[in-house]
Structures are given as structure tokens and as C-alpha cells.
């Protein structure tokens, strides 16, 4: 049926394309992935991947526009009615996520061609882009679907393709293989936990459609099986979100994967898992139930705060740049989880806003580091020395994104931290505010180390004493600067992500009467 709708779109015209947007946004990269693997040469596969992702991006913008107009897009696969069939549903919460994922995929591809050509065997490049597309499709599917089991399917699609993508870093560093294996083990445990939870929910409610589950649970009262399902799902998704202390797979997976993969995963993978966590916590399960509130106050919030501080300290001591950024990511996930654990609309929207902003800053940082790796072979911070002279544009972009990570005004990072502080104070969580401050100060330290190396240390020199100038691929720089400018733009006008986040948060929590 899906294929039919694609086939007919050319016959009936553009309307069919738009009306099936919710499905096509996932299907195009999924099928495109298979096609890309068949294309013999890396560059052709790359061009094809760009086309597929561009199509997804345009469709997601179209849906975003509808959602901004106040609509919720419902879509039934093959016209099978809910609760029998699989439904997709796009509202203000996941419209933001879908747009983010497709935009990041597009930017990653624009940025990544030179790094892929450098880091991956020519023979494997078309397979690589194919796997990348499948991974994109998996993440988009997780975000778009309204069916709990379908979430699991896409979760596995994205995870398995991610294991492959991470392992592709083996040409640069054999440690990619152990990193990928490690991730595979933990990721599979996470997925298993998740599917056990979904199974338990199915046992109790007899349905897999999320809103259906939610309405049945609402009429049930407290139930031990539901609690067990809750625990399994939170742990399972927590693993994928890299919730402290379930984050151990993340630093190596980010650090040893090919640059483009590290950049793409850092800005999307944990974000989609976090989105699902929010969806399950607030929309499937009953907000305000005693065990959920207890979980927020006594598990999620303390873990979030611990991550913010412990992982920031760990980041400060990493000599490897990408591991530094990866630990910082776990800390930043802590900020988002803190927002979620506040359990208020203000907290949730602040967390969502930080999710969006963090994707922008980490995407830019990983891109810049990827370019540094390409131009100068940078792995460790000490090797970044003098980048302000040798790669001035990359260094400047990295600095702005780093300032955003610190949360300096004039960058998007300030806005989300500001709203997070306000939300924490609203609930009287002083210790959370202290944690935000401490973590931000640590961020000054570890970002400062990079800036120091780039601007305060002597650059690598040629034998004759002249400073080495490195040429940076223009397309990659453009992608980097789109993200860097976005980091500044969303300081001055955060209305788009914040409006969506607020609408989503009040839709999810509004009923609670808070």
C-alpha cells in the first residue's frame, strides 16, 4: 500500500505527495537506503542520499507548517483503522523532532562528503551512505509513529544501522570495533527492555496504539503490571537516551565513529530517544500518578543533576576532543532530563528547547572537530594548537558553538538555560539551579581548553618556519556556518522552537491542572 501511494503520487500529482507526507518522510530514506547501497560509486550514492534526505526535509517542513497552523496530522498506514492498523501522528512535539532530524541529516551529508572520502574505503562508501539513510529513516520513524510496537521496530532499525555506522570508523581506529560492539550489547539490552515493557502494556490493555493505551490506562487505576511496564520502558529508553548512569556506551561510540556519524548521532540519536521517553512519560502513562512523580523526584532529577556535574568533570579531563564533547553531551542530556523531571509545563518546554539548542551546538562542534581531523589530523586537544591561524574559519565557528555550550548571552544556549533556571526556581529547586551554575562553570573550563589551544598556542609550522595553511572544503564550511548562525539566530528569535515546545508541553501536561 505504501508503494502504491508512492506510485500514484506521480500520476495523481503533487497532492498525493502532501497528503501522504507523514509516511513518506520515513519511507523515502528507508527505500532510498536500499537503492544507495546498489549504487556503485561513493559520490553518486552521496548525491542520491542528499536527494532522499532533502525530500524528507521538505516534507517535514511542510508538516511543520501545518502543525504551526494548529493542526495535528494523523495518518493511517494502508488505511487500516486505529487500533488495528499502525497510525502515525504528527503534533507540535514530534514535528519539531522530525524537522530537527531531517535537517541535521541534510547538514551532515553536506558537511560529510570529504570526511567520508577520507575515512572510509572507496568500496564501502555506497554501503555507508545506504546505511546512513536507513539510520535516518529509523530515527524519523521512531519520531513519527503513534504505535508502541512500531516504535520498537524503528528503534531496532536505527540502532542496528548505527552499530554498523560506528564500526565503519575502524579504518581510522580499530577501537571503533569494540566501541560498536559495546554499544550493540547495551543497545540490545535497552531495546529488549523496551519491548518487554511494550509487551506488558499490550497484555494489560490489548492495544499497541499509544493514545489507545493511554485512554485505557486512565480508566484502570494503579496496577502492578503497568508499573513494571513503566520501569522497563524508562530503563530501555534511558539507555538509548544515555541517561546517567546508563551512558557508558556513548563516549566511545561518538569518539571512534567516522566524523559524519559522530556529528549526526550527537545531534539526533539521543534526542529522538529522549522524545520517546517524554512521549511515554507524559502521554502514554498517567502524569501525576504516584509512582511517576516519585520517579521524577527521586530518580530522574538526582540522576540528571549527577550527570550534569559528574560528566562535566569527566569532560574536563578528556585529552581526546571527541570524547570530551561526548561526555559533555551526557551532561547536557542531564539538563534536558532535569527539565523533564520538574514535571511542569515550564520545565518540560525548557527541556525541549535545550534539546533543540543542544543539537545545534553539538552538531556544529562535532562538524568543526571533523574538519580539524580532516585538515590537521586532530584527535587530541593538544593537536588543536594554533588552529586560529591554520584554520581560522573552522576555529571561529567552533568558538561560537563552544560559547553556546557554555550558555553565554547572544547564543541559543543562554536562552534554554535561562528558561530551565526559571522553571527550576518555580518549583523551588535551588539545588538544581546550583547544579546548572556549577555545570556551566565546568563547561567554561573544558570549552576554554579548546579555545586556549586554538588561539594561545603556536600552530604547526613548515620546515621554513611559515605557518601551515589548511584548505577547508567549502561545502563543509557552509554546513558548519549554517549551524553556527543558527546558534546565534535562535538567541534573538527563539519563538519557533520555544513556541512549539510550549504548545507541546502544555498539551502533554495541561490536563494535570498545574
Amino acid at each position: 500500500m505504501i508503494l502504491e501511494s508512492i506510485g500514484s503520487s506521480s500520476a495523481i500529482g503533487i497532492d498525493a505527495l502532501w497528503s501522504n507526507a507523514a509516511a513518506l518522510v520515513v519511507v523515502i530514506p528507508l527505500i532510498g537506503g536500499a537503492v544507495a547501497a546498489l549504487l556503485g560509486r561513493g559520490r553518486i550514492a552521496w548525491a542520491w542520499a542528499v536527494l532522499c534526505v532533502l525530500a524528507s526535509f521538505i516534507l517535514s517542513l511542510f508538516m511543520l507548517n501545518l502543525v504551526l497552523g494548529g493542526e495535528t496530522i494523523g495518518y493511517e498506514m494502508g488505511n487500516w483503522e486505529v487500533p488495528l492498523g499502525i497510525a502515525y501522528q504528527i503534533d507540535s512535539l514530534n514535528a519539531l523532532i522530525i524537522t530537527l532530524v531531517s535537517a541535521m541529516a541534510l547538514l551532515a551529508l553536506l558537511f560529510g562528503l570529504p570526511t567520508v572520502e577520507h575515512e572510509i574505503d572507496p568500496k564501502k562508501q555506497s554501503m555507508f551512505f545506504g546505511t546512513f539513510l536507513v539510520c535516518v529513516a529509523g530515527l524519523l520513524g521512531m519520531a513519527a509513529t503513534a504505535d508502541a510496537f512500531n516504535v520498537f521496530v524503528f528503534l531496532e532499525i536505527s540502532s542496528i544501522s548505527t552499530y554498523v555506522l560506528v564500526a565503519m570508523g575502524a579504518k581510522q581506529n580499530r577501537q571503533a570495533l569494540t566501541a560498536s560492539y559495546n554499544y550493540l550489547i547495551l543497545g540490545t539490552i535497552g531495546a529488549t527492555f523496551f519491548v518487554i515493557g511494550v509487551g506488558l502494556l499490550y497484555m494489560v490493555t490489548g492495544t499497541l496504539n499509544m493514545s489507545d493505551i493511554s485512554s485505557i490506562l486512565a480508566g484502570m487505576g494503579d496496577d502492578r503490571v503497568v508499573r513494571a511496564a513503566f520501569a522497563f520502558i524508562v530503563i530501555g529508553l534511558g539507555l538509548k537516551t544515555a541517561m546517567f548512569p546508563l551512558h557508558t556506551w556513548l563516549p566511545n561510540a561518538y569518539a571512534f565513529s567516522p566524523s559524519i556519524v559522530g556529528m549526526f548521532l550527537a545531534s539526533t540519536a539521543t534526542k529522538v530517544a529522549l522524545y520517546l521517553l517524554i512521549r511515554f512519560l507524559f502521554s502514554v502513562f498517567q502524569t501525576g500518578s504516584s509512582f511517576e512523580t516519585a520517579m521524577f523526584d527521586f530518580v530522574l532529577a538526582p540522576m540528571a543533576v549527577t550527570a550534569m556535574i559528574v560528566c562535566s568533570v569527566q569532560a574536563s579531563f578528556q585529552p581526546d576532543v571527541r570524547r570530551l564533547l561526548a561526555y559533555s553531551s551526557v551532561a547536557q542530556v542531564g539538563y534536558m532530563l532535569l527539565g523533564v523531571s520538574l514535571g511542569t509545563a515550564a520545565g518540560l518546554s525548557a527541556g525541549l528547547l535545550h534539546l533543540f539548542n543542544h543539537a545545534l551546538m553539538k552538531g556544529a562542534l562535532f562538524m568543526a572537530i571533523g574538519l580539524a581531523g580532516l585538515g590537521l589530523g586532530v584527535v587530541r586537544i593538544s593537536e588543536m594548537r594554533g588552529m586560529g591561524k591554520t584554520m581560522p574559519f573552522t576555529a571561529a565557528g567552533l568558538t561560537v558553538a563552544g560559547l553556546s555550550l557554555m550558555g553565554v548571552p547572544l547564543t541559543a544556549g543562554f536562552i534554554s538555560k535561562y528558561y530551565l533556571v526559571i522553571a527550576a526556581l518555580e518549583r523551588g529547586w535551588w539545588w538544581a539551579v546550583v547544579a546548572i551554575v556549577v555545570s556551566s562553570v565546568l563547561a567554561i573550563f573544558y570549552v576554554g581548553k579548546m579555545i586556549e589551544a586554538m588561539y594561545l598556542h603556536e600552530p604547526a609550522k613548515h620546515a621554513d618556519g611559515s605557518v601551515m595553511k589548511v584548505k577547508t572544503p567549502v561545502l563543509s564550511l557552509i554546513a558548519l556556518y549554517i549551524l553556527v548562525l543558527a546558534n546565534v539566530w535562535f538567541f534573538f528569535d527563539p519563538s519557533l522552537p520555544f513556541g512549539l515546545a510550549e504548545t507541546a508541553a502544555s498539551a502533554l501536561i495541561g490536563g494535570e491542572g498545574s
Binding site: 557554555m406 550558555g407 553565554v408 548571552p409 547572544l410 536562552i415 535561562y418 528558561y419 533556571v421 526559571i422 526556581l425 539551579v433 551554575v437 556551566s440 562553570v441 567554561i444 576554554g448 586556549e452 594561545l456 598556542h457 538567541f491 534573538f492 528569535d493 527563539p494 519563538s495 520555544f498
Partner: protein
């Protein structure tokens, strides 16, 4: 298009922006570049003078730069204190530019285009600090000022410069992001805005504990005011070329710090709130300690610029002290000290630079007998020193006088002792330099270093600023009248 005060506020940023672009574009033609630089400085000064007149006539021009939503905005509003700071910074900037051109050419410094381009950014940031209508805006420009002066501090590019620059950047950024930014956000949360309003935002709404905590966060977060123990960036920044030191110590950077200090006391906390705070009392004592320690350490330094840097640390704390005493008279004294110290200190720094650019002497002990070769420089130095010490008829006497007056309002009069002691120490470490230059004989005649003559462009500006300290002595009353509207609400 006619000039309006609102347009003038915009021009505070636009003129340096155009100037900066012009400097970069004309980088290949040094003469043309330096002319652009001077034209920019003049245009800025003219614009500021017009603004000062408008504010003096009672206008409070306001300009929204960006409305971010959620109660946050970037906004300019000019009031008398800000106008005074803008006037100070833009007039000294013009002189400093003149001096900088002479100095950089005289010492054949490298990368002069980059140097003056960052200067343009820094003066724009200073103007932004002066005109900020709320604390968030002030914070943004405060940070831009730090970042844009960093390449200036490390301009020499050697290991020493980089070490100094690293400390400069680390202390200023860590305190501002770790302490000042949380304070700004807390202000926004508690008061619902960070706007500067007469009488302050907090009056009667917050408990003494929160007020005290905020005061501590602000006082140490504003590390540009160099209160011990966040002062170490200042002596380390003297690795910079002399025009930068002058800019740091007199024109913009430390002045932006103490200006912010006065501004938060008058417009965020409210003078009455600070006066009643026990924490402010302890901060006043810390400021008094800083005044004495700064002077004591200055005495031990043989390197002239290091001596002047420690002297600045002491002199800045006069302003912090006045702000924490928080009587209208003390604050008026603090505001005057911003101006008067600037003219005195820039004279001393420019003289130090003239001596260096003519014969590369940096140590006080080697300056004996140099007065014959460069009499104008040492006379200017002498006058600048007298003003810093606070002797009439030079400008520096007024702020000390007002601080004395302001303190008698309050129980902690014994802090006056710190001021008296400091003035005595100032005499000990500043006056002998000029006296020995004229009276003593040079110890080593082998290189005839004492006979080298400094370039004209590095002598004229300090002579002008030294003359200005004399003029300002007589202008103090009009300046006090100008500032009166600021303090009327509090007394």
C-alpha cells in the same frame, strides 16, 4: 536625516563598526588607515558630546536593539552616569588613538591593522556598556569588551604575552560567566526584569540574605573592578603594548567594571538597600583593604608599568568603596573618581610608553637623570602623579574629598584611615620617579640612553591629558551638577 538622541544611540555602535571595516579594508595603506581611525574617533566623540548635551537637557533616549521574548531584551537607555562614562571613554579613546599610532609606528610593531581593528570593536563595546538600558545588555557588551581586548593584550605574541593573556581571559571570563551571569539571571527572576530604574528594583521586595548573596555575586562577578581576590588579571595584562595598557586602565576596561559597580548599586539594588546591608559593610572593608594592599605592592615594583598596574588596583577600590558606602555623596565621589582617575592614570601610562618607545627602559631605577632628555614627559608624569595622589589644584582631589564627606554620614568612619594611608603611599611610590629623573644623575652613561628622544605623537597626548587634570579641577562642580538627577532620588 536629522540627528536625534535615538539615532545617536545607534551611532554609538554604527560609527565604530564602519570604522572597523574601514581600518580592515585600508590595511594595505597605513596612512589612510590611520586617518580613518582618527576620523572614526572624532565622529564618535562629536556624537557622544551631542548625546551628553541631550541627556543634560533632561532627555533619556532609549533604543530597543532586540526583543527576545520571555521578558528579555537588549536595550539602550542613556542616563547621566552612562553619558559621563561615554564622554570619558570616547574623548580618551581619541587621544589614545593618536598616541597609539605614534607608539606603534615608533616601535615598528607588527600587525597594526589587526591591532586597531580590535580597538574599534573594544570602543564599540565600551559604548554599549555605557548606554545599556538593562543588566543583560550590559553583560553582553561587558563580555564583548573582554573578548575584543584579549587579542590586544596578547599582541606581542611571545610566551610572556600569551601567559598574561591566558590569565586575563580566564579570570575575566570565569568570574563573569560563573558569578555575574547567575546574578543577572537571578535579578531577572526575582525582579521580573533587569532594567536600570531610579531607586532600584529590589527595594522592599527581597530579604537581606538574598540581597547580600546577590551583592557578593555582583561584586566579584565584575572582576573588571579588580577587587581582591579577583584582581590578578590586571598586573598580568601589563604585558600588552602601552596604548593597550592605557585603554585597559583608563579608557575602557577597568572603567567599565567600576562603572557597572556604581550602576548596579544606584539602579538595581537602590542606594538605601545597599546602605542597610551588612554584607555591603564587609565589602566596603574589603575595598579598603584592597586600597592599602594595592598601594603597598605598588611600592615594591621596580617595573614602571607593574607599579602603575598595582596602583590602579588600589585606586579602583575607591570606587567600589564609595559604591558600598552608598551614601549619595560617596557615590558621587565614586562617579567622579571614574573620570578623574582616568585622566591621571592615562597620563602616567602614556608617559611610561613614551619612555619605553624612545629608549626601551622599563625599570624605575634606571630612569634617573632622564628628565633632561624628555622634560615634557616627566613634567606630565609629575602632574599626573599629583592628581592621583589627590592634591589641589588637580582633578584627583575631588573624589577623595567627596568620599571623606560621604563617609562621615556613616559609622565606619575609620575607613577614612585607608584613604589617608593610601594617599601617603601614593606620594612614596609616584613622586620620586619624576623627582629623580630631574635631580639625580644617570648611573650608566655608556649607551647614552638618557639622551634618546621620544616621538612627538607619544609626547603630545600625555601633555594634553596632564593639562586636562588641571582643567577638570575647575570643572568638577558642573560635572556634579550634571550627575545630580541620578542621586536626587536616594537622598
Amino acid at each position: 536625516m536629522n540627528w536625534t538622541p535615538e539615532l545617536g544611540l545607534g551611532l554609538l555602535l554604527i560609527i565604530p563598526a564602519i570604522g572597523c571595516a574601514g581600518i580592515v579594508l585600508a590595511g594595505k595603506a597605513p596612512n589612510f588607515r590611520d586617518i580613518i581611525n582618527l576620523v572614526m574617533g572624532t565622529a564618535l566623540l562629536v556624537n557622544v558630546i551631542a548625546l551628553v548635551k541631550a541627556v543634560g537637557a533632561g532627555s533619556r533616549p532609549s533604543l530597543v536593539l532586540a526583543d527576545i521574548g520571555g521578558g528579555l531584551s537588549l536595550q539602550f537607555t542613556l542616563e547621566p552616569l552612562g553619558a559621563l562614562f561615554a564622554a570619558l571613554a570616547s574623548s580618551l579613546f581619541l587621544l589614545n588613538t593618536l598616541y597609539g599610532i605614534g607608539y606603534m609606528r615608533g616601535t615598528n610593531a607588527k600587525d597594526q591593522t589587526r591591532f586597531f581593528a580590535f580597538f574599534a570593536v573594544a570602543i564599540a563595546a565600551s559604548m554599549g556598556v555605557a548606554a545599556s538600558g538593562n543588566m543583560l545588555t550590559l553583560f553582553v557588551f561587558y563580555e564583548i569588551l573582554t573578548l575584543s581586548t584579549f587579542p590586544l593584550v596578547t599582541h606581542n605574541g611571545d610566551a610572556k604575552a600569551k601567559r598574561g593573556g591566558r590569565i586575563y581571559l580566564t579570570i575575566l571570563m570565569a568570574t563573569s560567566i560563573g558569578l555575574l551571569l547567575p546574578a543577572v539571571i537571578a535579578t531577572q527572576v526575582f525582579a521580573g526584569s533587569t532594567e536600570f530604574v531610579a531607586g532600584g528594583l529590589f527595594a522592599g521586595t527581597l530579604g537581606a540574605g538574598i540581597i547580600g548573596t546577590l551583592l557578593v555575586l555582583y561584586t566579584f562577578g565584575i572582576a573588571k573592578a579588580a577587587l581582591i581576590p579577583v584582581h590578578m588579571w590586571l598586573p598580568n595584562a601589563m604585558v600588552a603594548p602601552t596604548p593597550v595598557s592605557a585603554f585597559l586602565h583608563a579608557v575602557a576596561v577597568v572603567k567599565a567594571g567600576v562603572f557597572t559597580m556604581v550602576k548596579i548599586v544606584v539602579y538595581l539594588f537602590g542606594m538605601d538597600v545597599v546602605r542597610d546591608s551588612a554584607v555591603a559593610h564587609w565589602l566596603a572593608i574589603l575595598a579598603a583593604i584592597t586600597i592599602v594592599i594595592g598601594s603597598l605592592i605598588a611600592m615594591t615594583k621596580d617595573n614602571l608599568k607593574a607599579r602603575l598596574a598595582w596602583s590602579t588596583i588600589g585606586q579602583l577600590s575607591y570606587i567600589t568603596l564609595g559604591a558600598m558606602i552608598a551614601t549619595p555623596l560617596a557615590l558621587l565621589g565614586a562617579a567622579l573618581q571614574i573620570v578623574m582617575h582616568a585622566f591621571g592614570k592615562i597620563t602616567l601610562f602614556m608617559c611610561a610608553g613614551s619612555i619605553y618607545s624612545s629608549n626601551h627602559t622599563t625599570e624605575v631605577s634606571k630612569m634617573n637623570g632622564m628628565g633632561k632628555a624628555m622634560p615634557m614627559v616627566f613634567i606630565a608624569f609629575f602632574i599626573g602623579a599629583l592628581s592621583i595622589i589627590g592634591l589641589p589644584p588637580f582633578a584627583g582631589v575631588w573624589p577623595k574629598f567627596l568620599l571623606f564627606m560621604g563617609m562621615t554620614d556613616k559609622a565606619d568612619q575609620w575607613l577614612v584611615m585607608a584613604l589617608i594611608l593610601s594617599s601617603l603611599l601614593n606620594i612614596v611610590y609616584l613622586l620620586p620617579i619624576s623627582v629623580n629623573a630631574f635631580m639625580k644623575k644617570a648611573e650608566s652613561q655608556e649607551n647614552n640612553i638618557a639622551d634618546a628622544r621620544p616621538p612627538v605623537l607619544t609626547v603630545l597626548p600625555p601633555v594634553l591629558t596632564a593639562a586636562a587634570t588641571l582643567v577638570l579641577f575647575f570643572m568638577a562642580v558642573p560635572i556634579m551638577d550634571y550627575l545630580r538627577p541620578v542621586f536626587e532620588g536616594g537622598s
